[in-house]
Amino acid sequence: MKNVIEVKNLKREYVTTKGWISRKKESLMAVAGIDFSVKEGEIFGLLGENGAGKTTTIKMLITLLAPTSGVCNVLGYDTFKEADKVRGQINFVFGGEMGVYRRLSARDNLLYFAGLYKIKGEEAKRRTEELLKLVELEAASDRLVETYSKGMIQRLQIARGLINNPKIIFMDEPTVGLDPLGANMLREIIRKLKAEGKTVLLTTHYMQEADDLCDHIAIIHKGKIVAQDTPKQLKVRFGKNGADSTLEEVFLCLCKS
């Protein structure tokens, strides 16, 4: 299996300016040189405490942010210089209630984004209905998104992230705010995507979820990867009780130090 994501010594620094008169520059190394690769058809988990640099890493992979230095390749293309070649083939889902047009219905949201992803009329309609069904929003599909609950918005986001039938899908805390049913539905969707041969990169704060879903996991701490392996091997290597320990124990052990 070939690598669809390749990251080498990737760094990203944020520079912010403070103050009115004497403008002070402050810089923060959000991602401080990380290496990993993801194989085609794999579910890859990126775990780490708040502010570890997970979202920043994903943003660089989805061509939203320029790396400060290092290699950041998706499907063999540089995500900064060859962004145009990457964009149509990937998509992403960010957790939370952002990223939808609240004054449109779910169906209109999906149809609009289908257009932006250059999907033509009939095909766009077919795809939209298919996805509404997949995320179980058919009944509410003509209501304005304004009137949706958090979980419904989240499910709409997931549908939007699949609109272009992406080869790789990036999910940043996709289950945050979902009820157990919704979270379960999402996990089923992720497994289905894997069965279709798609690659999924996801972050989550639910260790059990990562354990269940991921083929490989990288744990990132203060912008650096501190461990990277299969869930099973991580437990063997870092858990107190070897293979019987939980991923949570591994996480706590690695991120406390």
Partner: protein, 267 residues
């Protein structure tokens, strides 16, 4: 496909703009109030100024405030709702999307002309209720556009000018959300400098020099003259060309900078 994206975005934008109270205020209330003021101010000036300075003046003010407060603010709204990042990475290209948005808003804001026209008609009926000659004089000037073909042509040039300016500001806003602040500062001065409500000629020479460098001044001049003036048209074309070039350079530059500076989101 390219047209499809622009068209979809344009209609989406019109829909979204129209449901917003601030936009409706700029679109409807603002031209009514401005028409009333301008009407009173120009009451003594004779009928020929009515079309040119009352109706067109209030209409232009209305369009411009729709652009300053709404079209431009839309970028920030999309930033706060998290959709700005989505449309930026869509493979259709954010340039087309911005163009569609601006076009939608500009088309919608043309309604200000209709509103100020209706207001002026109603006002004249009231003010000159007894003196029928007044109404006649007014209506004959206001309805009588000497050369419809030319008027439409000049209007298209005006729309083009406003669209290009809005796109420039939208790009800058993608880079810095503070731009909105400067837009608020720019609103009133531009109305005077470009002669929306008074002829530019009443301004001091040094301001007139600035006016002449700005494309809207010439677009407005074209709209006000009753027939083709090749000099105005030529200068406007040159200034629009410069503006187009600037827009293109800005597009390329902004496309890089937003990814380097991480300005598309609030976090």
């Amino acid at each position: 496909m390219l047209m499809q994206i622009i068209k979809d975005t344009m209609f989406l934008q019109m829909k979204q703009s129209f449901v917003r109270p601030m936009f409706r205020f700029c679109l409807i209330a603002n031209p009514i109030v401005n028409t009333i003021f301008l009407y009173e101010m120009y009451l003594q000036k004779g009928a020929d100024t009515f079309l040119n300075y009352v109706v067109l003046g209030a209409g232009l003010m209305g369009i411009w405030s729709c652009i300053c407060f709404s079209s431009i603010g839309d970028i920030n709204r999309e930033r706060y709702s998290g959709t700005l990042a989505l449309i930026y990475v869509a493979p259709g290209g954010f340039g087309k999307i911005i163009f569609g948005k601006v076009l939608g808003n500009t088309m919608l804001s043309l309604l200000t002309f209709v509103i100020s026209y209706i207001t002026a008609c109603v006002l004249s009926a009231f003010t000159w209720g007894e003196e029928s000659s007044g109404i006649e004089k007014f209506l004959s000037t206001i309805i009588h556009i000497e050369n419809i073909g030319y008027f439409i042509f000049a209007s298209v040039m005006l729309i083009l000018t406003f669209v290009l300016i809005s796109i420039c500001f939208a790009f800058i806003l993608m880079l810095s959300r503070k731009t909105e602040l400067y837009m608020n500062l720019l609103e009133i001065p531009l109305i005077f400098i470009c002669g929306f409500t008074f002829p530019v000629e009443v301004l001091p020479q040094w301001i007139q020099n600035i006016s002449n460098c700005l494309a809207p001044t010439w677009a407005v001049r074209m709209l006000r003259s009753s027939q083709m003036n090749w000099e105005s048209f030529g200068i406007l074309c040159i200034e629009l060309l410069v503006l187009l070039l600037l827009t293109w350079v800005l597009y390329k530059w902004v496309d890089r900078r937003i990814r380097i500076n991480a300005t598309l989101e609030v976090s």
